[in-house]
């Protein structure tokens, strides 16, 4: 066993980096907790209140169900229209953001910046702005969801666009296709299933988002949350929550199944 014949084995890499990362994470968590005054003690002392609230919520007032069916349908319709409009607008935006399709940096960087800006604005704020512009009702809610869907779908789609196989594009160039023909024949077939999946995902999120938009007067079931909570009718709130849960679960399930089929 001489060291000459045996190859020198490399030393195992040091674990210092992992310890360091863990330490930083713990410090961040601890400081955040201190600075936001969150403490386990407060959570425990608040527990009885939470239990009281729960007690008041049950049993749910089932008769209230009839009154909110229309509002729930409106919520779903808002989500549907908002998602569709957003998806249509997302197509050109995604194409303009993808660096392998819009090669010019002067074009895709500003578009991406705009997209990031859109996604920074919370949907409730968007809804409030649109309520201020268009007045109360479902229309501002639809616009808020449109903008929100646009941001989400365009972002996910352009990332999918940037991972496509460039081969078919090259082949389309070689047959003498122009820019639009290259996109229609070389790009779209590669991403359309992803795109549909993102649209369904956006729709899922939008149904949940639309349920609270009513809080700022943008139509849908959210209005009833505000009313019942305001009058301390927690058993009615509970009915709304359960109803929303059921709808969201059904839509989630259907959309997940559909997306599995697509990809």
């Amino acid at each position: 066993m001489s060291t000459n014949t045996e190859k020198i084995r490399p030393k195992a890499p040091r674990k210092l980096k992992h310890y360091f990362t863990a330490a930083i994470l713990i410090i961040l968590l601890w400081r955040s907790a201190v600075l936001t005054d969150s403490s386990l003690g407060e959570l425990l002392s608040g527990l009885p209140n939470m239990l009281d609230l729960l007690k008041e919520m049950f049993p749910p007032k089932w008769s209230y169900f009839e009154k909110i069916v229309d509002a729930m349908l409106e919520t779903i319709r808002m989500a549907l229209v908002g998602t569709t409009l957003g998806a249509i607008l997302a197509v050109p935006v995604a194409l303009l953001s993808a660096s392998n399709i819009t090669v010019s940096r002067w074009l895709h960087h500003p578009v991406r910046l705009l997209l990031n800006l859109i996604r920074t604005i919370p949907d409730l704020l968007l809804a409030s702005i649109f309520v201020a512009i268009f007045g109360l009702g479902p229309l501002p809610g639809i616009f808020a969801l449109t903008v929100f869907s646009l941001g989400l779908i365009a972002k996910l789609t352009y990332e999918a666009l940037e991972t496509i196989d460039q081969g078919p594009l090259e082949a389309m160039t070689s047959v003498g296709a122009n820019k639009i023909q290259r996109i229609v024949f070389g790009v779209i077939p590669q991403v359309q299933a992803h795109f549909m999946s993102y649209v369904l995902y956006a729709f899922e999120i939008n149904v949940r988002a639309a349920a609270v938009l009513g809080l700022v007067g943008a139509g849908g079931i959210g209005h009833y949350y505000e009313v019942t909570l305001g009058f301390l009718e927690y058993n009615k709130t509970c009915t709304i929550i359960l109803f929303t849960l059921a709808v969201v679960l059904i839509i989630d399930y259907a959309s997940t199944k559909l997306r599995e089929k697509l990809l």
């Binding site: 196989d165 081969g167 078919p168 090259e170 082949a171 389309m172 160039t173 070689s174 047959v175 003498g176 296709a177 122009n178 639009i180 023909q181 229609v184 024949f185 070389g186 077939p189 590669q190 359309q192 299933a193």
Partner: protein
Amino acid sequence: MIELHNVSKTYSNGTKGLNGINLTIAHGEFVVIVGLSGAGKSTLLRSINRLHDITEGDIRIGSQSITKAKGSQLRRIRRDIGMIFQSFNLVKRTTVLRNVLAGRVGYHSTLRTILGRFPKSDIELAFQALDRVNIVEKAYSRADQLSGGQQQRVAIARVLAQEARVILADEPVASLDPLTTKQVMDDLKKINTELGITTIVNLHFIDLARQYATRIIGLRAGEVVFDGPVSEATDERFAEIYGRPIQKDELLGEPVAEVPVS
């Protein structure tokens, strides 16, 4: 006729891809370009339909200069030059038929092709092309359900539907097994002789080059170091092209013998 006058390509990092290449390829020739990886085979082929731009010289396809062409004129020249790739470059998620019809887009308006409204004659042409490469029964299958050899035949059908007068094939059999290699090369040869389409193929295997070519061009470091008929392309000349004796993996061997009978 394809003419290359003094063609050079220098990459932005200063390396020379092609250096002073002069070639004339006549109508109906079956030219095989050989050389080591990095010798500039692919660059040369992609310069001909301008998937790569050259930095010096001029390339003429028939009477027109593709080097100087722009916009729709460039697209029209490209329409006459079909290309076959090592990785097939089909759209995998669409049908075989639509992949073949994609070869027709250069003939129609953007709107018509977006709507997918290809004339009946185009669809007939696509089926004939699929028929010629013996894969017509797969017309409505998705491209990713096909084997590599079948996909390459679809790519050949696309070029046929394109009604190209020149076919460029960049390592068309590099990702295929010996048996399908033979089928694909036979298809290319058949198209070349029956339809008189000028064919230029990049190949790695030198015995394959000798078997199919009417003319062999050897490239080394971006320069033409051999240009002549197959009879002159002896092992010694190949050794010169490669700068070293021929190695075993540069020979495909007897194609059929390597495939077990199932």
